[in-house]
């Protein structure tokens, strides 16, 4: 992993982001309707729409809008949200923070649970434990988030059995308990699919590692089973798991859209849906930019982690 490599990767990310934003801009401008119509809704009169369009600069040709937008970005100004009349950086920034809290909680929890679970399944291959974990994983991957979330709402958060709040957001600063209480269900919903995915990956990788010659060699050296598993088997099964996790972050970024909607989590996913519905172009742009950027960056980080986990992997 050389510096040159890192720089090249980062440059590639910028290029990708540039392409993505241009594509999104082009896409959104061919859409019927615009923010002004959406803001005023059915109760607006044509002259009010025209007035608002002028106010929002929507009467300019799209390439001018894009040009202005890019010029703004280069000055560090993401513009104003058309629908919310707030600086995009503020709207998106807050939402991103909230989403990151949710996503990170889900990811960390999932990683912490999924890896041992997958390892356990591999160790107990063919037993009831393996079967149970397998069934759970399969079910996890087959239930779409909106179904899981709905079921959770009915069974765990319904007012009658209200173990958990039915959505809502509490910031963790100074109220970590409240945060944990509110984040539990959405994080679980998000995590379920990833849990299944990662634990299955770890299981198959671990199973392969366990049948490898060097594990056999380690056991024949008389090492304790603990050491064989922790020092020899686990680290070697992790690199592929990390690759999967980074891919799953992409999935997570999609998953938040549904989960945030259902659990009233004020994050990027919901903001994006809202912005799409309202043709709030600057917000759509910023959110896509951010999501794509996060995804690309997480891929880069995962490559770095993999290189750290596995000394054979070298990027130049």
């Amino acid at each position: 992993m050389t510096r040159g490599y890192l720089i090249r990767r980062l440059l590639a990310i910028f290029l990708v982001l540039a392409i993505v934003t241009f594509a999104v801009f082009a896409i959104t401008t061919v859409l019927p309707g615009n923010a002004a119509i959406m803001i005023l809704g059915e109760y607006a009169t044509p002259d009010a729409v025209a007035a608002l369009e002028r106010q929002l600069n929507l009467d300019q040709p799209w390439y001018m809008q894009y040009f202005n937008w890019v010029a703004g970005i280069l000055r560090g100004d993401l513009g104003m949200s058309l629908r919310l009349s707030l600086p995009v950086s503020q709207v998106v920034g807050e939402a991103f923070l909230n989403s990151a809290l949710l996503g990170a909680t889900a990811l960390v929890a999932v990683t912490v649970i999924a890896i041992p679970l997958g390892a356990l399944a591999a160790l107990k291959r063919g037993t009831a434990v393996d079967l149970a974990i397998g069934l759970f994983s399969y079910l996890g991957t087959a239930l779409p988030e909106f179904v899981t979330a709905t079921l959770l709402l009915v069974f765990l958060a319904a007012p009658n059995s209200g173990i958990f709040p039915a959505g809502g957001f509490v910031a963790p600063w100074g109220n970590i308990g409240g945060f944990a209480y509110h984040v539990a269900l959405p994080a679980f919903t998000l995590g379920l699919i990833l849990l299944a995915h990662i634990s299955r990956q770890v299981r198959s990788e671990m199973a392969e590692v366990l049948s490898s010659d060097y594990i056999r060699a380690a056991r024949l050296k008389g090492l304790t089973e603990r050491r064989v598993i922790r020092r020899h088997a686990l680290p070697n099964s992790l690199a592929p798991a990390v690759a999967v996790i980074s891919l799953d972050i992409g999935y997570l970024l999609g998953g938040i859209i549904v989960v945030e909607e259902i659990f009233a989590w004020p994050g990027l996913g919901r903001l994006l849906m809202y912005a799409l519905e309202n043709r709030d172009l600057p917000v759509i742009q910023a959110v896509t930019l951010l999501l794509a950027g996060v995804y690309a960056l997480s891929n880069l980080i995962s490559d770095i982690v993999i290189a750290m986990l596995d000394p054979r992997v070298r990027y130049a």
Partner: protein
């Protein structure tokens, strides 16, 4: 084949798949009622002799709706995947076979597209096209294309350096023969396996779009939409949410299990 069915995964997966595909192919004919017909006196009922799976808010028969929705839901997954896999594979094979700058150009573009998460990508395309089933299908297909192209390319690459391909090159075979007779048949299995598993993703994404109001639209009987429509009534009649929800899970599970079993069965390490 006997080997294939010796794994429980394969048996369960195939069984689920048969059920789901039967529903998808013959559902509309075996449905006891017109899926749109109202039965105002029997609204929001649980399972009964007259309505085996109960009814929804208009008193429409859920079993009939599920059966009618099967083609929409499953065919959506299958066609979206087929389209994405087809186009993706062609791109991937072209990249893998030609190598050089063609390969690297294609790969750079794919990398760019892959940088956008699947659902986000789909969402953007769907909103661009304005929602609806066909547009959602197209969007899922487009979203699948880069990933599939990658898989196809790597399958081709791994086959391309095999000795039997090199033997064909050394014999002086034409490029067409090499690709169609030596490379493709052997590169196909990872593509098929991935495609099978992706059908389940496609079904889930399709249902999610239906749920978000960007996919199928009323009065369609697509399952995701059915869940969305029934959610308001979930406390009054949990069946009308659970049934389509579980149907989606069943279809996704079926394809998932089947794909996994297929992967195991086709895994060269296992077959030796």
């Amino acid at each position: 084949m006997r080997d294939f069915f010796s794994s429980p995964t394969a048996v369960v997966g195939t069984t689920l798949l048969v059920i789901v595909l039967t529903a998808a192919l013959f559902g509309p004919w075996i449905a006891p009622y017109d899926p749109q017909a109202f039965h105002p006196i029997a609204r929001l009922q649980g399972p009964s002799a007259a309505h085996w799976l109960g009814t929804d808010q208009f008193g429409r028969d859920l079993l009939s709706r599920i059966l009618h929705g099967a083609p929409a839901t499953v065919a959506f997954g299958v066609f979206a995947t087929a389209l994405g896999v087809g186009v993706g594979s062609v791109i991937g094979v072209i990249a893998g076979v030609s190598g050089g700058w063609v390969d690297s150009t294609i790969m750079r573009i794919l990398d760019g597209l892959l940088a956008v998460p699947d659902l986000l990508f789909t969402l953007l395309i769907v909103t661009m096209l304005g929602g609806g089933m066909e547009h959602a299908l197209l969007a899922v297909a487009v979203a699948f294309t880069p990933g599939m192209a990658r898989i196809a390319r790597s399958a081709v690459l791994s086959v391309r350096t095999r000795d039997y391909v090199r033997a064909a090159i050394a014999r002086g075979e034409s490029g067409f023969y090499i690709v169609s007779c030596e490379v493709l048949p052997n590169a196909l299995s990872p593509i098929v396996v991935e495609a099978t598993i992706r059908v389940s993703f496609a079904i889930m994404i399709g249902a999610t779009l239906g749920f978000l109001g960007l996919g199928a639209q009323p009065p369609s009987t697509e399952w995701g939409l059915m869940v969305a429509e029934a959610r308001q009534f979930m406390f009054r009649n949990p069946w009308c949410v659970a049934i389509p929800g579980l149907s989606i899970a069943m279809a996704a599970l079926g394809f998932n299990l089947f794909g996994d079993a297929l992967r195991d069965a086709l895994d060269p390490r296992r077959s030796h």
